[in-house]
Symmetry: C2
DNA sequence: CAATTGACTGACCGGTCGGTCAATTGTATT
DNA sequence: AATACAATTGACCGACCGGTCAGTCAATTG
């Protein structure tokens, strides 16, 4: 344990990792205590109970996600270029924080509506951007913004989360991330242009 | 419990449901015993241990998936029509078997390469189909078959698995499944055509 | 200085876990 | 009816679960 962080932070770090790697039920409080080099009692002292620790971890991931997604919407005149840049930014974010995608996957399986609440504003920003581009004739009028954003988010998240599966299909797309991203972006951009 | 099925089948049915709904660690053997109206001992008698029961459930889902995916490749002269039909067939299959998509999601989070092994032959069929269409000039030469198939699979699976999230964004896409599918297919088809 | 507080610990709790085992019950065969 | 075997049960086990409790200690406050 790094002496420059508090024990409470060490507990949270351990929980962030373990919960995202293995899910709520598989991770015992004793496992978190061992990884953070404290006793179980301290975890209950700081966090109340296991459920509240999970909630804290969830809030942490959601906040991390929400704060970094704001860089998605950089200054960029051309809406199409902005959409492409947003996709690449999002890919790089998940690549550097793969546990975020895993944690969201666990949240989905728990039917946790919290993530949808969390990123609705971001979704609405993206929707606004797409609709603006449609009014300018840069994107086809038939494109549903929700479906487009869902497709891009799912494609990238699952590239990381379901790697164990897709790598059996075609190992080449995991040798070089640009291979996947270039093809993925080309497919979607062609799909939205008039 | 339905008297026309054996107790072993009742155990497997309960496990199929509970494991796909809640994952391995969250479901205890006692829960499965209660739902199948047998004692825990009988579960160990028939299935050895919890891990082997999970493996049996996994094999069941994988077989169900593999057998029904063969209908994806119906007789259809036009490759583009076949691709669209395959997508709609896949959507209807997951719609009627949502636990399959959930189970695969758990398998991905467990880094289980088994699902990739399982559906590699199906993937290769789809890849062959796409390459044939490319040779006929019906699909753009720049399209990577792996990326296309991944995009379609992910889009449909996550429509169901991540419903708790996306429904917060736009409830309209869940009021009528055709809304989502028509837009999703149109996006991808436009993306692949020359 | 004494009182208070929060961080932290080790011992302990009741309950549940996956699993074992001997006894009983059910079924098929001779 | 007797026998053999499989299915099934209920009691039990040690390990582990989430959590509580009494106590210690250092820092802060009055």
């Amino acid at each position: 344990m790094n002496p420059s962080i508090t024990k409470k932070e060490a507990i949270l770090d351990a929980a962030l990792t373990l919960f995202a790697e293995h899910g709520f039920a598989h991770v015992s409080v004793a496992m978190i205590a061992e990884q953070s080099d404290v006793t179980k009692s301290l975890i209950f002292h700081h966090f109340g109970n296991k459920e509240q620790l999970w909630d804290e971890v969830k809030q942490h991931y959601f906040n991390q996600y929400a704060q970094t997604q704001e860089i998605l919407f950089e200054q960029e005149k051309n809406p199409l270029t902005l959409i492409e840049k947003s996709m690449r930014n999002y890919f790089n974010f998940i690549k550097q924080n793969p546990l975020v995608a895993r944690f969201f996957s666990y949240a989905h399986l728990d039917n946790d509506a919290g993530c949808g609440d969390l990123d609705r504003p971001l979704f609405q920003q993206g929707e606004f951007l797409i609709k603006s581009a449609q009014e300018q004739g840069l994107i086809r009028p038939g494109i549903n913004p929700s479906v487009l954003i869902m497709t891009f988010i799912n494609g990238i998240n699952q590239y990381f989360v379901a790697r164990c599966r897709f790598e059996q299909w075609d190992a080449a797309i995991y040798r070089d991330d640009d291979t996947f991203m270039n093809h993925f972006i080309a497919l979607l951009m062609k799909g939205i242009k008039p």
